[in-house]
Subunit: 353 residues, 4 copies
């Protein structure tokens, strides 16, 4: 259920409605919009009586929501969600196409710093890199753990980047929450509902990767799990799905971007590296992602990919990355977006979107 | 790497080899076989020198293992693993086809007891039922939690059944470990590696369900995660994969059974209920599962499926279940197996397999 | 649209209704049933007025059919279709499980005769073998053409078998129609609608293989194409679908058998050879097929598979085939079916199905 | 096998080599390149002895080709194939991104002419439209047949367009060959090898659509079928594959474009209309297609889509199409390509590709 407040409703009125919802045994989710506030209502206990709520001061309308997802729905919040980071210019979901880059995994201070410096120079505002790696084999490199997070936090300060890194269990989530700016939930954990709920209790934005065979509804329901715990800053990520096709590691499903834009207010970025699996297909797929309307791109970059402990073959060299960003910047303009350019601050305003 | 001991090697010799492996910084996994013992070696640190080990007393051969999985491999342990339960006749992976049945979720003491009584009468040795339910929607029934486990434990005593139930996080795993006989890891968590490792530290057998889009290799690697922590009692479960086909909820991939039998010594059972999604297809799929050579069947049974809180449409009525078991018993005989029949103990010996 | 005739309607009345349907510009399809006759109506020209037809003598009811398929639907013909062959005992879709076997392709008279003799001895009533092979590569063996058909026709006489073989274009279809007893349409041509229409104009039964990624609806619509031209003897065949799974060549979708049985009166058989791709998985899959309720099995058998020009690795040796048939015969009995046994004619009556 | 001629080999030498290949019982395929000529050799009869050929005048090297495809391979012909049309400027595979547009099916002279006029004005050089429609249902509109082709041929003259239209059998192929400029082979017929061979005997360029579940290798082998008959002007087309995803009708696999570019010299275009299935996703997917590097785009446009006899919901309005083309033109420039603009002939030279 969704309560739509009047355009001129006061904050006190909104808070009073939320309080009343709680008294009725449900959970209110105030969703401030550009012109007015909406309040989503969730809870297990069955249908809410609309009457006692529709009569409260400031309430414009009470709407029954029938889709399985509520908080993620554009019906509930028509304006795009723009994820912001305190004290930083970077956003996700606004006019600027977000650029995240870095190595697959943190391997050493030197390795991460070299990559961080390179991607920052080319215009990335986010540094990616795994300290906890979900690997198919128990005998493969599983990441540096907390030590890796410390290195990433150092790199953040050194290069002015925001850190996004994966959590794979309750313990790593607590650490990621402490060291990083954004919590990544990987494709294999997209339906690890216990982990999603924990991420929902953090105040950090969450990057939620689509599972290898997740439908759009399942992806949105996974985001709903996070939001239902009170964390509304969720960014979706398409990273390729599993199909019969064997010419790329996964099949990048660019068609999900316009589908997501229609159903939800949440941003969606694409990950061409994991879809491609091979370096030479990363750049074309990144171009396709920006052209189709994604809100960002997350790319693996490594200064010495031949010696990477994981995902070397799909990591770009810094030079390739720099050239790609130039290319993406042009495409972004053509679809009414901007991309940050460290060489010409301040950022120019976007062409009409 | 795999160390094969001599047929007449003593236990002391085996332990001495294990100790030496540890001193070299690796982890030994003694795997007793019918005629002789093998020792699997795992560890992150790269290649082991074979020389110092091949000279130890009792060692027959040191074999390099090139496949990504080691402990699950039939190369390492040629005999079928037979999972046993202390003080009970039930086995999984032996000549008897295991039968697991019960409701999707525990809803109340009365509901579970009625189902448990019915399935025990028909010959099930295992009672299934979820106390922690991984649901696509955060607003759907999530299970009774510990209270549900208590009810299952009571039913175990009342009807002489073994309890198998799902764990979805570290907290529920600790509880399932305490109350149940077998820990189920669901399809959505097949690559929740943190959970797999925890299950590997339990001494309870683990029922590992194949993920919706998991390849055979990925399934085996997930089992390897559990085994690499020291728990060798892993039972695989095929429950249908995600394909384009829409006439069943998932596509039951019976072909994985002979493929599994070739590569690994671990048992595999099939779950026709989650594959079918509709009651009328459960029985034919269960027949196909036993005919193809599965080591067991896990089926949803509910005494009042129209009022089930989850998976009602795919739950069999007790009468349907009883008729199905009669049918399966005949097919089991034809493929050289037995199925427990409470009406005619002791079980007759199997026809040559 | 479907016209249901009275139980005691005369043949003349049925013919008069058909004639009237034709005058209205549509096409009537009389479908005799156990108790009464139905007349399916097809035609491109839009909706038929029910009124002028419902008043004709002998008409019980005029029913609007909303599903995309009409003639294949069980709504139109509730009784199972049993395909018969003039002057032969063999049937498909009746109580007897049909057994078709032979080499992938006809390579020589000697090769085919050796295989035909072997499969006939084990109880096959149908000889399979391709004279026109749809091969992925233009440089691969494309079949012996008409010469191959001649050899098959000879083998039919020599061993009392019925011949089923594939047509791939209008020219080969005319030849197959002339030499064989049953026309096979392969998976790659399941939506070659021009070919389906031509097969519909033949009087020979058609074996229609499911396309590699065909949904159940698409398979039924392909059968509808054949039936809409007047040929009602269509047998469906599940031969594995394309999925991400790589442990079998295709994923045998046994769940389609009960789904087909519910929606259509047409028989369905399974092809474990093309699904498996490897010999050692053919027998378990064949067992699963009979257990799930298929009306027949089509299997590749070759006396010298190591030198086969196509599909050698998935062809059974005659001895393996004979053992498999014994096994299938037992399973058939358990699901209320029979299988022909040349060693004990006449066939024993089936257990209640 | 592939024979590489010397850079300065004469035409006579090349012809002599071809003659010798024929005498040996094989088929030569001369493939002129920018700097020198290669001769592909095909034939069923097994391995060719390299010796007698490598000694002929003008021969530089004889190379064994191990991949299943030969003529399509970039190994055999490193330069991109550019398909040309006599007396016209339009090309496919050159620097200009080809634009094909028009209705799904030809329904009437008026309908086609209105669409043709609109798409020509926006810069399309090719008019698409089906006269023979492969429809899932035998009761659906199957196209106007030869009458439809006549209308298309008229529109070609009226608006200066090239006509591309589908053939579905030997009869329609003969007609399409007579009336159209380019023969389309649809997704359902990608492995209709008889039809591919017939298309290979035509002199018209062929547009070959990827089958719904075709791997890249299968697509290339289908092209090889056409080329092995002597027709080297084949254009591939990605139109979406069948996956579990349900938010678009098919999943547009943009990743196949760079994969195709690596393996073959043939052009590849994309069809966003059939992938999307819904109008609002066509434009973003078309943008992704040009951005990823496709050699062209084929789009459905209809002046009155609500009354279209087929595919109305995915057809663009002329105004949407015109806006889309403007957008694509910008992206084409950014990836080093051009797009024809009727408002500013002659075409400006492309930026370095």
């Amino acid at each position: 259920m969704l309560i739509l407040m009047n355009v001129n409703a006061t904050d006190d009125q909104t808070q009073a409605v939320c309080k009343r919802v709680e008294e009725l045994g449900f959970r209110p989710h105030p969703l401030p919009g550009a012109t007015r506030c909406a309040i989503g209502i969730t809870g297990n206990q069955g249908a809410v009586e609309a009457d006692p709520l529709s009569q409260l001061p400031g309430v414009a309308e009470v709407i029954a929501v029938s889709k399985p997802y509520k908080l993620v729905s554009r019906d509930m919040k028509p304006e795009d969600t723009v994820v912001r980071f305190e004290g930083r210019d970077a956003t996700i979901g606004g006019v600027e196409v977000a650029l995240m880059a870095g190595p697959c995994g943190v391997e050493s201070r030197d390795q991460l710093f070299r990559a961080a410096e390179a991607v920052a120079e080319s215009g990335a505002r986010f540094l990616r890199g795994g300290a906890f790696k979900p690997r198919t084999s128990p005998y493969a490199f599983q990441g540096m753990g907390e030590k890796g997070l410390e290195i990433m936090a150092e790199a953040r300060e050194a290069f002015g980047l925001l850190v996004v890194t994966e959590a794979i269990c309750h313990e790593s989530l607590a650490l990621v929450d402490q060291y990083a700016d954004m919590i990544q939930i990987g494709a294999r954990n997209m339906q690890n509902f216990a982990l999603l709920k924990l991420a929902g209790r953090s105040r950090r934005p969450v990057l939620l990767k689509r599972g290898m065979s997740a439908t759009l509804d399942e992806l949105l329901m996974a985001a709903e799990y996070i939001m239902s715990e009170g964390n509304y800053n969720v960014v979706l990520c398409e990273r390729g799905i599993r199909t019969f096709a064997d010419h790329t590691r996964n099949t990048l499903d660019v068609g999900i971007v316009p589908a997501v834009k229609k159903l939800t207010h949440l941003p969606i970025i694409i990950d061409p590296s994991h879809a491609a699996g091979k370096r030479d297909k990363v750049v074309p797929l990144a171009r396709a992602g920006v052209a189709v309307g994604a809100d960002g791109v997350i790319v693996e970059v490594h200064c010495d990919p031949d010696h990477a402990l994981s995902d070397g073959p799909q990591s770009l060299y810094p030079g390739q990355f720099a050239a790609m960003v130039e290319n993406l910047r042009g495409i972004a303009q053509l679809v009414g977006r901007t991309m940050y350019d460290p060489k010409c601050k301040p950022v120019t305003a976007a062409v009409a979107r």
